[in-house]
Amino acid sequence: MNPSNYVILSALLFGIGALGVLVRRNAIVVFMSVELMLNAANLAFVAFARMNGNLDGQVVAFFVMVVAAAEVVVGLAIIVQIFRSRRSASIDEPNLLKY
């Protein structure tokens, strides 16, 4: 199968993720969308590694997985703390800081 199809798929996933960050209101869903964007980049890296005929892209994908896992830990800690103090995980509700 032509690996460039995977690049197109990764662009679609990245677009869906970016759209999700912009339109969704629940912090957890926004966060999932960010993860989708990172995984779209992973897919692009792996597909390009196949097209370029070297392993660099695959190695990057491993590092990105580790970074994404670390990001989950930090992100969920922040979101859970926000939820506990406000009883809501909406990303619109914390609005004390403005202008």
Binding site: V7, A27, L38, A41, N52, V60, Q81, S85, L97
Partner: protein
């Protein structure tokens, strides 16, 4: 990653080759990250009473050791870690500056004499704001020492960021720098709802921006077949066509870095995070993240994308002008000191971008000088902000600064020096920085950009001077805050930043010589 590539070739030609690591070249970063690991062990195994002295000694000893290791590398111009890191003149200067700023930032964070309840960080970040738990923890004088672990890892990431020489190392350094800062931003002792909100906004927008960086990196890799900056540069030189793909890739990668710098239109997080985060952390972050991220942006644009200058320069012209004017104009309308300084830092980022757009050795040297001058001044500004207090903690509303010059002339004078430096008045470091950056941009033919920058500086001068007028030419009121007497930590940080701000304005030549002798980035 060359190691991996060489392994593939090794299968059919030569046996496995061990990757070589020159530990002398990696020493500064390894010392700080190693200290971060030791700091985790301290948290796990030391009794509560011993943690603060142990962590503080660890932080200062490791930072000073790292600074010595950086100075020890003076004159080195080579790549390390199989080409993943570039130890060169500009990289070492930026790395050394990050370490010095980290020492000053650590001094601010260690301060316990200003707030009657302890340092600037929450007694227990896990307790709910306003809850009985929180009250109890505060009453018992609890404090958290985990902040030092986060701090050391963030400093390690910042030291890696300007010397990262491939896309993977740059992404990892970006995240190692950012993740601890997201958490630290949410740990203020007072106004905790604001602080947590700042952490949420910083995290969500930061993760969004790093996803853009990563996807851009994937496209660059797909185009050039290499993640190393040298490989990208050589394949950009040889391949033609497919410019749409490469422009999208450059746009995405640069957007990710511009976010960290706080350039418009990626600046929205900065005012909220600067205002919500604990003040000592804001000072450290405002100074050190800017140095690290500008270092990374300069290396990426000059080394990997140097051949594409005529494609990325117009984009950065627009961003530079937008950043200067949005920062300067919105700062005029602010009534909160920390928020105003946040917009001021956005405007300053726009001025430094002039040196980046110049794409010359003079532009590089000017940007580095400006970054160093800006960083020391910013640390000083936030040191003063953390000292101006009333019964509710820091008095950041501008109205509470009215007449401060009558009540505390010395501190108000120091703050005036910082404001003059940020404005760019002669005999302060800010003037020399602006002069070199503007000259470099002019020499590269960006005449209109320089004119726009001078106009933006004029607008910016208005709000900096407004603070000076407010402090010295207004009568103190009932509302006027008082200046708390700090312990030796903040005093040292404030004295150091004020000294550097004035010295660099009067005797800039030694630092200019150092920067000019450092040369340019290596491939």
């Amino acid at each position: 990653m060359n190691a991996v590539a060489s392994v593939i070739h090794a299968v059919d030609a030569t046996p496995w080759v061990m990757p070589t690591l020159d530990y002398r070249l990696l020493a500064p970063v390894l010392i700080v990250l190693g200290a971060g690991v030791v700091s985790v062990l301290f948290e796990a195994f030391l009794p509560r009473g011993a943690r603060r002295p142990a962590q503080l000694s660890l932080v200062f000893v490791s930072l000073i050791a790292a600074l010595i290791a950086v100075i020890n590398l003076n004159g080195v111009r080579e790549t390390a870690g199989q080409g993943a890191l570039a130890i060169d003149g500009p990289g070492l200067i930026l790395q050394g500056t990050v370490v010095v700023i980290a020492i000053l930032g650590a001094l601010l964070m260690a301060e316990r004499g200003l707030d009657p309840n302890g340092d600037a960080f929450a007694a227990r970040a896990s307790s709910l704001p306003g809850s009985e738990d929180e009250r109890q923890f505060t009453a018992r004088g609890y404090f958290q020492t985990e902040i030092w672990t986060f701090f050391l890892f963030a400093v390690g990431g910042m030291m890696l960021f300007p010397i990262a020489n491939d896309l993977l190392m740059m992404f990892v350094a970006l995240e190692v720098m950012s993740l601890p800062l997201y958490l630290l931003a949410g740990m203020a002792r007072r106004r905790r709802l604001l602080s947590q909100e700042a952490a949420l906004k910083y995290f969500v927008l930061g993760a969004f921006a790093s996803a853009f960086f990563l996807y851009g990196a994937a496209l660059l890799y797909g185009f050039s077949g290499s993640i190393s900056f040298a490989g990208i540069a050589s394949s950009l030189g040889s391949k033609t066509g497919e410019t749409a793909l490469i422009l999208i890739a450059i746009g995405l990668v640069v957007a990710g870095l511009l976010f960290k710098i706080g350039a418009a239109p990626f600046h929205q997080w900065a005012p909220d995070v600067y205002q919500g985060a604990p003040t000592p952390l804001t000072g450290f972050m405002a100074a050190a993240v800017k140095i690290a991220a500008f270092g990374a942006l300069l290396r990426l644009l000059y080394v990997a994308l140097g051949g594409m200058r005529w494609d990325w320069a117009p984009m950065l012209w627009v961003i530079s002008i937008l950043t200067m004017f949005i920062g300067a104009i919105l700062a005029l309308t602010q009534s909160d000191m920390k928020r105003m300084i946040a917009y001021s830092s956005i405007a300053q980022a726009g001025f430094i971008l002039l040196g980046v757009v110049a794409a010359s050795a003079a532009g590089l040297a000017g940007s580095i000088f400006y970054l160093i001058a800006y960083a020391f001044t910013t640390i000083g500004v936030f040191a003063v902000i953390s000292m101006v207090r009333d019964e509710n903690g820091e008095a950041t509303h501008l109205s509470k600064w009215a007449g401060l010059g009558r009540k505390s002339p010395f501190i108000a004078t120091l703050f005036t020096i910082f404001m003059l430096a940020l404005t760019g008045i002669p005999l302060t470091s800010g003037f020399i920085g602006k002069f070199y950056v503007f000259t470099a941009a002019y020499a590269s033919g960006d005449k209109w950009l320089v004119i726009a920058a001078v106009l933006a500086s004029l607008i910016a001068a208005f709000f900096y001077m407004r603070v000076v007028v407010l402090m010295f030419f207004t009568e103190p009121t009932q509302e006027t805050a008082t200046v708390a007497i700090p312990s030796v930590f903040t005093t040292v940080a404030l004295a150091a930043s004020a000294t550097v701000t004035v010295l660099l304005g009067i005797f800039p030549q030694p630092l200019l010589d150092l920067i000019n002798n450092a040369g340019v980035f290596i491939r």
